[in-house]
């Protein structure tokens, strides 16, 4: 299962920068607005090719993880360019190799659309987050507008083959995993959201 997942994202890493370049530009300001809340020791999940490092505030200490070696290879140069301390590591979001309460901030960008057991992954984040820490999510979710939600449901079996699920309710999943959402902002329709949550 994990090998299949790794292989899928290794394949996706070859075209990832090209396919997401417009989304990176269009959502850049909203991401910078969210990441401005990063404090202390930070963990970033599913780093991908490291697009988002440029949107981080400078001078932070960040550990960025991904399951895919292909993605991490492409992220290395961007990690070196970051004005702060940024370490890369290969790791599964559902089994983090960090002690409890290690981080002040955990960041996930378009991650829980892909993690096979999202509630388990989010529980792991709660475990490694300090009691006064913050979870910052930038995720696409299932719309509450029925015509769009139907389309997302129909697309998901297709998109799952080479990328993410389109119809996850990540905000509700975060609450199921023991977080309290303190801020939820629609970035594009109600499909793309910026969310700040704290341990409940």
């Amino acid at each position: 299962m994990i090998d299949q997942l790794r292989a899928k994202w290794d394949r996706a890493s070859r075209t990832y920068d090209w396919t997401t370049r417009s989304d990176e530009f269009r959502f850049g300001a909203a991401k910078r607005h969210l990441f401005a809340r990063m404090r202390g020791r930070c963990l970033m999940l599913a780093t991908g090719t490291g697009h988002d490092f440029q949107n981080f505030p400078p001078r932070l200490s960040v550990t960025a993880i991904d399951i895919s070696p292909g993605m991490l290879d492409r992220a290395r140069e961007r990690a070196r360019a970051y004005e702060g301390r940024l370490e890369l590591a290969r790791m599964d979001a559902r089994a983090l190799a960090f002690p409890d309460q290690s981080f002040d901030t955990v960041v996930a960008v378009c991650t829980f659309c892909s993690v096979p057991d999202p509630v388990r992954g989010l529980r792991e984040l709660r475990r490694v987050l300090k009691p006064d820490g913050r979870l910052l999510l930038f995720e696409h979710v299932r719309s509450r507008l029925t015509p769009l939600a139907i389309m997302q449901d129909l697309l998901t079996p297709l998109t799952r083959r080479f990328g993410p699920d389109m119809n996850r309710d990540t905000v509700a999943n975060a609450e199921r995993a023991g977080f309290r959402v303190v801020r939820e902002e629609n970035v594009y329709l109600d499909l793309v959201k910026s969310v700040e949550a704290v341990p409940a």
Binding site: S22, L148, R180
Partner: protein, 147 residues
Amino acid sequence: MNVSREALQDTAGRSRLRGCAYLLGEYVAGVVTAVATAVPIHALVDRDWDMVVAMLAGTVLGTAAHLVVLALLGPLVGFFHVMAPGAVVGMYGGMLFGMRDSMQAVSRSRAVAVAVAVGVLVVAAVQLYDRALRPEVERGPRRETDS
């Protein structure tokens, strides 16, 4: 100091221009999806078709057209900004186009003109809806029924 201010203004200007190009790209993607939906339906469906079958065929063809346009224009315009209006145009527009072509004979040029209008209207409606949804939502825990 003046130079850096000019450089900043230049960067902001280019960024605004790029933002406008993306907005225009959304209309192009919406219109291309609508035309790519309407033309094959117009070629396939005629008044001999049962309306229900024509509507279902329209939905299937429109969804397929939407996926092709999404794959081609998504990287250029933004996947979500092509997907949301394209889904409505392809799926529901395809249904309407199929219904129309099973009920009345229209010329291809008229079918294309209507498709262009549908594409523009849907993209405009989605952009307006997006603006309406923008305000930040501050909140506490959800009710269980929300999930």
